[in-house]
Each structure stands twice: as C-alpha cells, then as structure tokens.
Amino acid sequence: MSMWEYANPRQFMALTDRVLPWVTALTVGALAVGLAWGFFFTPDDYKQGSTVKIIFLHVPAALMAINAWAMMLVASLVWLIRRHHVSVLAARAAGPVGLTFTAIALATGAIWGQPMWGTWWAWDPRLTSFLILFIFYLGYVALWAAIDDPDTAADLTSVLCIMGSVFAFLSRYAVNFWSQGLHQGASMSVRREDNIHDVFFYPLVLCMAAFVLLFVMLVLLRTRTEIRARRIQALMARERMA
C-alpha cells in the first residue's frame, strides 16, 4: 500500500480510527512518566539549582515548535505540488499546536532566563528568530481564518509556510552562525561527551518523545475534524443549491 492512498479522506479516517487510541495511550503514559521523572526524581544542577527542571519543558517545546513547522512545510509542499486536500488540512491542523509549543518555549525560556541571566529577554539570535517564528505561526493561523475560499487559503498559507521556514531553520542553527548571544548551544549531541549528564539526559529524551507523541495525537485528531468540517461545508453548499 502506497503512502499516497491516505490522501484519500476515507482511507485517512479509517486508518486514524484504528491508530488514534493507541497514540493517545502512549502520549498519556510518556507525558506522565517523563514529567514526573524530571520534576520529582532529578537532582539540582550545581550552577542552576532547581531551575534545571525547566529543561524538561523548554527543550521539548522548542523542539516541537521547529518540527511542527517542518511538518507543515512538507504538507504545504505536497498541497502545492499534488493538490492533496488531506495534506493541507493536516498543515492547518498543526498550526495552532505548533503555535502553542512556541508560546510555551518562549514563556518557559523567559521564566528560566530571569533567575539565570537576570533578564526575561535578550535580542539574542536564537531568541529573536524564535520570536519571529512565533509571529509567523500567528500569521499562518490568522490567514486560514481570514480567507473564505478554502483552496485560496490553502495556497496562500502554504506560501507563507515556505517563507517562515527560514526562521524555523535559523531558530535551530542560529548559534552556529553567530558566536555572540546569551542562549547556550545544544544540550544534546550525537557525541556523548557533549551531552548533558545522564541523570538529566534520559528523562529529557522521554519528555521529548512525549511531546512528539502529543503533537502526532493532536494533529491526527484535528485533521479528522478538518475533514469533517470540509464535508459539512460541501453538504451545506449542496443544500443551498438544491
């Protein structure tokens, strides 16, 4: 079976009917265990004290803010090239979820920054590109709501998504391009010696997996809702014509 078969709304609904309960159960389990492990069972950091526990929220949220935009980019490109409605509806579904993750990353970053850096905010390359990404998310969600014709809205939001991808990319790699800035580099690396200590590493990986699962669960649920909403529009249009 080809992946493109799920561009058919009926096939997509049938698949997600079976998959969604499992994804939901995994999400709840991973979130509960990950957050509890990070909050209750990790020690204080010698420099940051108990604020290190914010890492289990901030890093997964920031990761998903960028990855959600990446998923929206791929889905938007599929729409622009192949005109598959399920794809662009999935991008639309992901927008508010990514916006929420970005807001959480910005808020927890500010809360963490105040006691550690002595400031809520700095015009650091990574923080600034993240704020611009947040504004792009707002624009994306607003543009969908502002345009009546769904195909026109899909086209314009897809182009906006491509443009915003620059800032998603910069958010991730800004520290590599600019040496100045307050925000530290990556907490995790493929090189073991560059990673944070294991006592923080394992619960952090679990929290990141939990946030990924939460994103998948919400996008599947919301895409199903968008498909149903589209069907309602089509049925009502048919009633008006009859």
């Binding site: 909050f39 108990s50 914010i54 949220a61 959480i104 919400l218």
Partner: protein, 76 residues
Amino acid sequence: MMPDLGQYAGWVLAAYGVTLLGLGAIVVASLVRAGRVRRQLEALEARRSPAPPREVTEEQGTEKGTGPGHRSGGTG
C-alpha cells in the same frame, strides 16, 4: 513528595504551571471542537438520509387499492 526546589521554587512551579495550562488548553479546545463538528456532521447526514420505505400490509393494500399483490379484479 514535593521536591525541595529551594530559592527557585516560584520560577520552576510557574514554568510547569504555564506549560500544563498551555497544553491543557490546546487539548481541551481540540476535543471540544472535534465533538461539536462530529455531532453537526451526524445531524446533517441524518437529515440527508432518505427514510426507509414504509411496509405496506396485504390488508392495507386491499382496502386502499394499493400495495403489492393488489389486482383490480380482486385476489385470486
């Protein structure tokens, strides 16, 4: 049960509070909208589905001159 968060307790709890609030809001909003849209679609589709044909008994068919098995000259 509660770990000793020391002088940073307020900051840590604020961060967890904001996160749980944000995640809770998007989950609840998604579920509420999903339920509302599903019910609306079900109502629309129920309105569109034709009613099943009414079963006509032999008596009704004979009396009113309609229904299967009726012949104008009586049954036979």
